[in-house]
C-alpha cells in the first residue's frame, strides 16, 4: 500500500476505481449513490415473514406456496426477479418429523428479495462447511435442539435456485392476527437456524 490512506486502504481503492470508471463513461456521476439508496430500500425479512404468516392463516395459500413459490409470492406482490434473471423459489415446510435449513456451500446464494442481505455467518466458511456435515450440531450452536427423531434436511442454494423455510406455527397463537403472526417470524427462522 502507498500509505497515503491511513484508515482504510480498500475504501480508497474503491473510490479510485469508481473515479476511473466515471472518467471512462462506465458510471454516471450519481449512479453509485442512487444504487446504494435502492439497496437500502430493498428486501427485508419482513417480506419473508409476511409470506409465512399468510401460509399459517390460509391453508390454500400454503398449498400454492409449497407447490410453486414464485407464483405464490407474486400474490403478495413479491418477486424473485430482483437480480438479472428470476430465481426459482422453493419453500420447504417444517413439521414434527422434519426440520429444514438452508445454506449456499459455494458462496452466498440467498433469497434476498424475501430476506434482505444475508447475515455474515451465512456467508462464512464456518457455516457453509459445517452445516452440511453436522447440521444437528450447528443447529445446537444456534440454540435449536431437535428431538433425535426429527429428520434434518439441508438445502444447498445456487445461483438459479433459492430456498425459504416455512417454520411451524407456534402453539397458542390461534387468536393472533396475520400481522401479529408475521411479527413472530425471524430471519433465522426463515433460514432454519431458529424454530420460528
Amino acid at each position: 500500500m502507498s500509505g497515503d490512506h491511513a484508515s482504510s486502504p480498500v475504501a480508497a481503492r474503491v473510490r479510485h476505481v469508481e473515479a476511473l470508471l466515471e472518467g471512462r463513461g462506465l458510471l454516471e456521476p450519481d449512479e453509485i449513490d442512487e444504487r446504494i439508496d435502492a439497496l437500502a430500500a430493498g428486501g427485508t425479512p419482513a417480506n419473508g415473514a409476511a409470506v409465512v404468516a399468510r401460509a399459517w392463516v390460509d391453508p390454500a395459500f400454503r398449498e400454492r406456496l409449497l407447490a410453486d413459490g414464485n407464483a405464490a409470492i407474486a400474490e403478495l406482490g413479491f418477486s424473485m426477479g430482483g437480480a438479472l434473471q428470476e430465481q426459482k423459489l422453493t419453500v420447504v415446510a417444517n413439521d414434527a418429523d422434519e426440520h429444514h435449513v438452508i445454506v449456499c456451500t459455494l458462496c452466498s446464494c440467498y433469497p434476498i428479495a424475501l430476506l434482505g442481505p444475508s447475515p455474515g455467518w451465512y456467508k462464512s466458511e464456518a457455516y457453509r462447511s459445517q452445516v452440511v456435515r453436522e447440521p444437528r450440531a450447528v443447529l445446537r450452536e444456534f440454540g435449536v435442539e431437535l428431538p433425535a427423531s426429527t429428520r434434518i434436511t439441508v438445502w444447498d442454494a445456487s445461483a438459479e435456485s433459492r430456498y425459504l423455510v416455512l417454520p411451524r406455527r407456534p402453539p397458542g397463537t390461534e387468536d393472533r392476527s396475520e400481522e401479529e403472526l408475521a411479527a413472530l417470524v425471524t430471519r433465522k427462522g426463515l433460514i432454519g437456524t431458529a424454530a420460528v
Partner: protein, 94 residues
C-alpha cells in the same frame, strides 16, 4: 474439479459465530462495492457467471484471508482488467 470456495463438508473451520446487531454493511465502501458491481453487471461489462467465477478463482490463501466484500472487489478489478476496461496498474492507482 472443486475450487477453494467449495467448502461444503470440509473440516477444520472454527465454530459458526453470530455477530449481535450486525449492520447491513460494516463500512461504506462495502455498499459502494455492491453498487459498483450492480452497475457493471447492468451495463454488461461482465455477467453474473463471470463474476462468480472471478471470485472462485481467487488463489486459495487469499480467498480464505479476504473478507466477503474484499473478494467482491478483487473479482471486479480482475474482470475490469481482463475485459480491457483498464490495466491492473490503472486500477491499482499506481
Amino acid at each position: 474439479m472443486s475450487r477453494i470456495n467449495d467448502v461444503g463438508g470440509m473440516v477444520g473451520f472454527p465454530p459458526v459465530v453470530e455477530e449481535p446487531d450486525e449492520p447491513r454493511f460494516h463500512a461504506d465502501w462495502e455498499a459502494h462495492v455492491v453498487a459498483l458491481n450492480g452497475a457493471l453487471l447492468g451495463r454488461g461489462v461482465y455477467n453474473l457467471d463471470e463474476f462468480r467465477d472471478a471470485i472462485e478463482r481467487i488463489p486459495p490463501g487469499e480467498y480464505l484471508a479476504a473478507s466477503y466484500y474484499e473478494k467482491w472487489f478483487r473479482a471486479i478489478t480482475t474482470l475490469l482488467a481482463e475485459k480491457g476496461v483498464a490495466t491492473p496498474e490503472e486500477l491499482a492507482g499506481d
